[in-house]
């Protein structure tokens, strides 16, 4: 049976989404983690709301990075453990399209979900409603970029028994520019100045990783699968 490129992409995305929604607790855990981490900062620092507002973009972005990392470990792991990934790789479709589809599906259930709940967290941290659009756009671009970087890291560590910490060690340095520009964009929107520069930079990083990271992630999977 011949399956076209887009059809294969759609089928894999649908399979991933279906698997995620069958286990709603796994879907919600990173989101709950995101909420808890952002709650820890005001409790631990005992700040007035004005000080909290100054820190809000950084807190929001660090929490978003950490909770996305939490779910990255499972990107290829369960499929590699039970042999599904090898079957997919042998299916005649390029490994590339499989990696792209899986990463995109992963972003839909982790990154996009974070973007949706971010206004709640933003309100709790004292981010004004006027900055929400910039905050959500920057988070959407940033988490998509992070999913691509994470796909490289997850591909490299998929064969390892305790790859989780190593995955963070690999991905976080590469993700630092995201934090700088993402928090910068939100910060600028809060102070009322134009956030366009930082957003353009995030968009450029996003396009850059979307085009090149799939090849790197595929190469990484090839190395660890063999």
């Amino acid at each position: 049976m011949n399956v076209g490129l887009w059809e294969a992409f759609g089928l894999i995305v649908r399979r991933e989404l279906c698997l995620s929604f069958r286990r709603p607790d796994q879907l919600s855990q990173p989101l709950v983690f995101f909420l808890i981490v952002t709650t820890l900062f005001p409790l631990g620092l005992n700040l007035q709301l004005s000080l909290l507002r100054d820190m809000a973009p950084g807190v929001l972005w660090v929490a978003a990075l950490l909770s996305s990392l939490l779910s990255l470990d499972s990107l290829f792991k369960s499929d590699a453990d039970d042999g599904t990934l090898e079957q997919l790789a042998l299916s005649g479709q390029g490994l590339n399209v499989i990696v792209v589809a899986k990463t995109f599906a992963h972003w839909l259930v982790s990154g996009a979900a974070l973007v949706v709940v971010s206004p709640v967290v933003g309100t709790a941290l004292g981010i004004p409603v006027g900055a929400f659009a910039t905050m959500m756009l920057s988070l959407a671009l940033g988490t998509l970029t992070l999913s691509w970087l994470g796909a490289i890291g997850a591909g490299l560590t998929v064969g390892l028994k305790r790859g989780n910490v190593l995955l963070s060690l690999i991905v976080l340095p590469l993700a630092m520019p995201l934090l700088i520009f993402g928090a910068g964009a939100t910060d600028r929107a809060m102070s009322g100045t134009s956030a366009a520069g930082a957003l353009y930079f995030l968009a450029a990083l996003c396009v850059f990783t979307c085009t090149l990271a799939p090849f790197a992630a595929t190469a990484a999977l090839r190395i660890t699968l063999e």
Binding site: L156, L160, L169, I170, P173, L174, P177, A220, I223, T224
Partner: protein, 244 residues
Amino acid sequence: MWTWFYRLASPPYVYGLAARLAPWFLGSAAVTIGYGLVAGLVFAPPDYQQGDAFRIIYVHAPGAWMSTFIYTTMAIAGAIGLIWRIKMGHAVAAASAPIGASFTLLALVTGSLWGRPMWGTYWAWDPRLTSELILLFLYAGVMSLRSAFEDPARGDRAAALLGIVGLVNVPIIHYSVTWWNSLHQAATVAKLGKPDMPGSMLWPLLSMLLGFTLFYGAVLCMRLQGEVLNRERQAKWVREAIRS
């Protein structure tokens, strides 16, 4: 014409070559670093603004240059190993990583010691400093990824790929002082046109740059010998080489 390239893929040849080259690298490094240190620390005139404190540049700038140079070398060597399946490429990459990480640490430490009297702080979250710190983390990631695999061949290839991915950071470090407003001074030597430095300060610096590069060559040759012996420990030629 390509035979010299093919010979580089043979472990005994690389082992012998490294053993023969190491003393030459070491000797020339001693001469250039010796001249650079004496001329830079004693004979160069003090800076009109920074006084004698500027002299740390003779360690700091070459260290920073080596940190990116070794990273690039490591990534290229890893790519050669990955693409042409030349095991010696991975050996060079594995031998280079700890040296590069040490030079990165040296650049960060001397930079913060220099920052204290000049900027009034040991550390600033500035693009140049941050990107150099990321480079240190990248070295750490490459080294721990290599050792995380039980199968060394797989670890080599995974580390090589991560090294290539991390290469995007190198131009960011280089241009960080041009692209963003930075506390760090802009390039004074590595730029088009005439360097912003008189010869009495410049020549010792260039000599130190060359000396550090030669020193890297010497340490690489020594580490490479150990790396090759460890990788080829089952081979017959290793037993013969050790016996003789």
